[in-house]
Structures are given as structure tokens and as C-alpha cells.
């Protein structure tokens, strides 16, 4: 595969992203990004089946709004990694900061380390597999898709959850409003096996628990007196 290198210490993020948006000419490329050094918005808005490798730590919104591309961060990712993605794959080899995969519609986000608070907030169809633990309020108002947590989850897991499903292997500090543990079905085991294999984790799907919405917030309850 043809490969192109961008050194962000020489040229800025804008020239990289302009190339990714307008310079591919239909080629199937591997793009190597050197010296990311925490810059924001690296490799956002790609709409092509290419490979991007970010060699170091990325700042805010890395690989956001991705379509079709496979983006690897060889380091940590800042807030909002892979937010708003539609398809493709984003793989963070280190840890991810807050709001990983926020509002994303599709694709796969793999985080080898921990994810911080609000992982998968308002997600709309993405699958997120976290090798470590997730911070507080993860899965907040998540509408569709799956979060797989191989480690522990923080406070308020799945608060105000819609139809997204969370699988947790470790401890949960507390559930958010309307989130509850449910029995695992054969379909859950199959989904989990598929996601773990795609993410490259060898855990036994039977070691996970299912967290989903009790759907009691779907309809306004005037008698609840704001107690949920």
C-alpha cells in the first residue's frame, strides 16, 4: 500500500486534514502522522477507506466524524476521540480522555487502556470496546450501539439510557437513573464475542454482565415528583 507521511512538527494539522479531504484521489493510502504532540482535530472528517496511524499522543477530537477509514492512535487520545463517527474503525493504543465516541452513529472504537468520564455519551450506533475501565456517567443518554467495558465502570453508568446496551466485566460503582442489570441472552453472548474478537480481546463473553434501560423514563410520570 502506498504510504504518505505528515510531520505535524513541520506542517500543521490543517494541511494534513486538507490532504485527507481533497488529496486522496481515490487512492487507498496509509497515512502516517508524526509528532502529533497533543494537537487538536487530527484526521477528522475522513470519508475514504484509508489507514491513518498517529504516532504519539493526540489532542481533542482525534478521528472525529470518521467514515470508512481505519485510524490508529499510538498513544493517548484527548477529549472526544472518534466523536460523531459514521463508520470505520478507530483504535486508541493508550488511554482516552472524556467523551470518547460521543454521539457517534457507527463504526468501531477500540480503546486498549482506560476511558475517562462520559464514554459513549449520547452515542447513536457506534460500538465501543474499552480494554480498561470507564469513568463516571459513561453511556449517558446512549441511544444505540454497544459499550463493552473489560474493566470497571464508574458512577452513574448508563444514566438515562435509551436502547444502547452496555456489557461490563468488572465492578460498577453505581448505575445511573433507569439503567439496570439484565440477564445475558445467547444473542448477547454472540454480539459480545463478535465485538471482543473485532477489538482483539480474548475475554470470555460469559464473564460480562448486561446493562440496559429499564425504559421507565420513556414516558413522563407526573407522580414521580422528580425522584428517579
Amino acid at each position: 500500500m502506498e504510504s504518505v507521511t505528515f510531520d505535524l512538527a513541520q506542517g500543521g494539522v490543517r494541511s494534513l486534514n486538507q490532504f485527507l479531504h481533497h488529496g486522496l484521489d481515490g487512492r487507498s493510502l496509509k497515512v502516517l502522522v508524526k509528532n502529533p504532540d497533543g494537537a487538536h482535530s487530527i484526521a477528522v472528517g475522513i470519508d475514504a477507506p484509508i489507514e491513518v496511524e498517529i504516532d504519539g499522543h493526540a489532542g481533542y477530537y482525534a478521528a472525529g466524524m470518521n467514515k470508512h477509514a481505519s485510524v490508529t492512535v499510538r498513544g493517548n487520545a484527548g477529549p472526544g476521540v472518534a466523536e460523531g463517527t459514521m463508520s470505520g474503525r478507530v483504535h486508541v493504543k493508550g488511554t482516552a480522555s472524556v467523551a470518547a465516541g460521543a454521539a457517534a452513529h457507527g463504526g468501531l472504537l477500540v480503546i486498549d487502556g482506560d476511558a475517562s468520564l462520559r464514554c459513549g455519551i449520547s452515542m447513536k450506533g457506534i460500538d465501543i470496546v474499552v480494554g480498561g475501565s470507564v469513568g463516571d456517567y459513561s453511556g449517558f443518554m446512549a441511544q444505540a450501539g454497544h459499550i463493552v467495558v473489560c474493566g470497571d465502570a464508574g458512577h452513574g453508568l448508563g444514566d438515562s439510557l435509551y436502547e444502547a446496551v452496555i456489557y461490563v466485566r468488572g465492578a460498577v460503582r453505581s448505575f445511573g437513573a433507569d439503567a439496570r442489570e439484565e440477564p445475558m441472552t445467547d444473542a448477547d453472548h454472540a454480539t459480545l464475542a463478535r465485538l471482543l474478537a473485532a477489538a482483539g480481546f480474548a475475554h470470555d463473553p460469559r464473564s460480562f454482565r448486561r446493562v440496559a434501560s429499564a425504559r421507565s423514563l420513556y414516558h413522563w410520570n407526573a407522580d414521580a415528583n422528580q425522584e428517579y
Partner: protein, 298 residues
């Protein structure tokens, strides 16, 4: 939005480089805080019977040599004034209240930024790069420092509203975020005789924590009290004579990253302010957890 930075060197040989290592950290946070900046550096202490006062003259034309001579003539013959642009450090054997009273009477335009045996404090309006150049930040030496770049959201853009804030001696605090109960904190403290310089929310947090420590709390105990009493969004970074402390609110909307090696511990709002530090990529890098108190000893 604001930017915070902090740096503590673990090896005495690195103390000479403290300022040089820090300037790119501060300048790296310019987009988070382009309109004012400041820092407090903890240096070699002056003798136990002496105090340093960081003084700021703003736009006022001060004849610092004349001020020094007059101060020596009336208050303390052994005092010295070390000038850096419109900023100066007064070292004196007089008590801080004596020095402050003399300054208020003879030089009301001069603002006392900090007091202590180790702390030097600089803050001003302008871009972080301008302020770093104005005060020669790259030449600063010491064990640790705390810096801030400000984008104001709740009170005016003036040097007095810039961070760090100080209270008491050898204590300072920088803040990214906004407090929702600074006035109730203030109404608790003012009847105790605690005076506020500004209407800024961060000053309430700073004076609350310093008051707790004056009442006998350790910095950790004061911060535990602070987590109970201070409401709002915050990433707080504090410096004392021998400690750096970091704490974030329960929702941790305001970012922070820590990078630690055998040589230093560095804190910034974002990794891009840490990337230039020696071997930063392979440092132990982590995001501080909500409501956990992180302390590093110099």
C-alpha cells in the same frame, strides 16, 4: 475556558531550568487563555526573619530606586527591591502588615501580589508569550511553579483578576472553571475579618482554603473541606512552600493531564503543553480522577 500549568522538578540540578522548561507550557495554553496570564514560582527561601513581597505597578510610573531608598529610610534599612519591568520583589525584615501599610500610604498604585519566604508572583494582561517575555520567565529558577492563562467568563480582564490568586503566605491557586457559590463563601469568610481584593470567584476558593490551613488543616484536609463547600466547575492547581496540589470537581469538565518522570512532575490542561518536556511521550501520563486529591512534595 482557561489554561493551567504546573511544574515541579525532582532533582536540584533542574531548578535552574525551571523557567525554561515552563515557558513553552504556558505559551502552549495561549488558545485556552489569550488575554492574561501569570505564574507563581517557589524559589530558595529568604531567612526566617525576612519576607518577600511581589509588587505590581501596572501602568503607574514608579521610581523603584526612590521607593527602595524611602522604604529603607523609614521602615527597614536592610530591605532590597529587585525590579523586573513594572513588577518588583521587595525583601524585608519588616512584617508583611508593616510593609503593606507603608506601601498603601506612600505608593497606593502599587499592588501587593504575594507574600512569603519563597513565592514570587507575576501576573498581567497580554498574551502568555508577551507576559513571559516581559518578566523574563525563562530565567526563573526554583523547585516548583504554578501558572495560568486566562479567558475570562465571570469577571473583568484586569491584572488583579488574573491568576494565580494568593492568600496568606507562600500559597497560591489557579483555577480553570467557574464557581457557582463564591458569594456565599465570601459571606462566610468576611465576618471572620478576611479581606477580598476582587470580586473574582477564584479568590473565594483561594481564601477559603488558606483560611482552613490557618485554622490548622493540612492542605489535604483543606481540600477535603473545599470539595464539600465549593460548588461549581473546577480544576484547581495549588502551590505551597513545598507542595503542588491538584483537584477536579465531580464532573471533571475542565481538563487536566499529568506527566511524571524521575526528573519532574508536570501538569497542564492539555498534553500539547507537555509534549516538549524531556521524554514526555514515555512519561507516566494520566488524567486526574474526579474529586481525588493529588499532592506532590518538593
Amino acid at each position: 475556558m482557561c489554561g493551567i500549568v504546573g511544574l515541579m522538578v525532582k532533582k536540584p540540578a533542574l531548578r535552574e531550568q525551571l523557567g525554561a522548561l515552563m515557558v513553552p507550557m504556558l505559551v502552549g495554553m495561549s488558545e485556552r487563555g489569550p488575554e492574561s496570564a501569570g505564574l507563581a514560582v517557589f524559589t530558595e527561601p529568604v531567612g526566617t526573619d525576612r519576607r518577600k513581597l511581589s509588587l505590581y505597578a501596572g501602568g503607574a510610573a514608579i521610581d523603584w530606586r526612590a521607593l527602595e531608598a524611602a522604604y529603607r529610610g523609614t521602615v527597614d534599612a536592610g530591605a532590597g527591591v529587585d525590579v523586573q519591568a513594572n513588577h518588583a520583589v521587595l525583601t524585608t525584615a519588616a512584617t508583611p502588615p508593616q510593609a503593606r501599610a507603608w506601601l498603601e500610604e506612600h505608593h497606593p498604585a502599587v499592588f501587593v501580589l504575594s507574600t512569603g519566604r519563597l513565592i514570587d508572583l507575576y501576573k498581567d494582561i497580554g498574551t502568555p508569550a508577551q507576559i513571559a517575555a516581559r518578566y523574563g520567565f525563562e530565567r526563573l529558577q526554583g523547585t516548583h511553579l504554578v501558572g495560568h492563562t486566562r479567558m475570562a467568563t465571570e469577571s473583568a480582564v484586569t491584572p488583579a483578576h488574573a491568576h494565580p490568586f494568593t492568600a496568606g503566605e507562600d500559597f497560591c491557586l489557579v483555577h480553570n472553571g467557574s464557581l457557582s457559590n463564591p458569594y456565599s463563601i465570601r459571606r462566610t469568610l468576611e465576618p471572620l475579618g478576611i479581606h477580598f481584593d476582587t470580586d473574582n470567584d477564584t479568590e473565594a476558593a483561594c481564601r477559603f482554603l488558606e483560611w482552613r490551613m490557618r485554622e490548622g488543616d493540612s492542605l489535604r484536609e483543606a481540600l477535603e473541606q473545599g470539595l464539600n463547600e465549593l460548588d461549581g466547575f473546577f480544576t484547581f492547581l495549588m502551590g505551597t512552600k513545598d507542595e503542588l496540589a491538584l483537584v477536579r470537581d465531580a464532573f471533571s469538565c475542565k481538563p487536566a493531564v499529568v506527566a511524571e518522570t524521575d526528573d519532574y512532575v508536570a501538569i497542564a490542561s492539555e498534553y500539547r503543553s507537555l509534549a516538549h518536556l524531556p521524554d514526555a511521550r514515555n512519561a507516566h501520563i494520566f488524567e486526574p480522577m474526579p474529586e481525588q486529591i493529588y499532592l506532590w512534595k518538593a
